[in-house]
Amino acid sequence: MSMEEHRVLFLVVGGVLILLIASPALSRFLVLPRTEFFTELWLLGPNHMAEDYPFNITSGNEYSVFLGIGNRLGYAAYYKVLVKFRSQNQSAADSFNRTPSSLQALHEMRTFVADEEVWEIPLTFSLNYSWAEPQVEVYGLTLNGVVLELEEGLIGWDAEHNAFLGNLFFELWIYSDRVSGFEYHERFVSLWLNMTGS
């Protein structure tokens, strides 16, 4: 083998060795930048799956779901989940206009989630209502043992769906340094509930 052939082999082996030795330092600089920053918000059924959500409910009976938040914002975030309940003709959160419901929150849950971390809690709820044909009057929601009173809880008959439909929903708000307060984070999850008599 000539010196010239040796030189090529030498350069290749040297180059590979240099790359190997420099790789810990290179890994500090050659990191692909994150391009998407967002928050996930989810509601899962009682079996921790996206199925078997409570729908036909009876007054006073307990139902459970899981509520979760995944933080992909690149920083530790301070969230507030507002719990609201409405009938079909009351103000709803709007996915297209990205606006929250104008209804007063029944309760709020605060949580702090580190970047790339998730927060999830089991929610057990029951609705207390009475039938007053042709409508249902919902007067209370119990959420994880906390009793919440509803001021305007009249649910009318929905002829299209043959049901008395109420909507329990959770709006996500986030603390913003810019406004030194909470802003609607343009996300909500909801459950439609048919208030049955028995």
Partner: protein, 159 residues
Amino acid sequence: MRSQLNRVFFFAVLVSVVVGGSVDVALGVSEEEASTVLAAAESNVVVCYSAVAEADEVGANVTALLTRLGEAGEFLSLGELAFSKGDYDAALTYAGQSQEMLSGFADEAEDLAELAFNEHYMSFTTTILGSVIGVAAVVVGGVVFWFLLKKRATEGAAK
């Protein structure tokens, strides 16, 4: 500076809770009092959140602090709920519990941030320095080895 302010702030809130608590036995808590203490508790949560966010930014493991902050937040939410129901005594109690949970929190977050920064700095310096020394050793060793090889080849050819 901030930790001093935080101590003064916490002390002021503590005094107001204790004084408020003893007065409350005789007079009950007014809406205004409850509202003030809740607002103070809310501000304290925000201050602590800012401290923990800074610690998180420099790579500190803030999971335990966030859990504690979350618990303080829960008390605050219960306080807000009690306030909205007109139960100002309970609102004051919950606000006090929230404050108590965050006693010394900002200082801990600052310490954690400092520790994480130093660790990060040390690890970064060690990595860069190690790589630079390693690469330099390979280059110098390679050049020396190459010249030795070349020298031997030239001497072999001459013989």
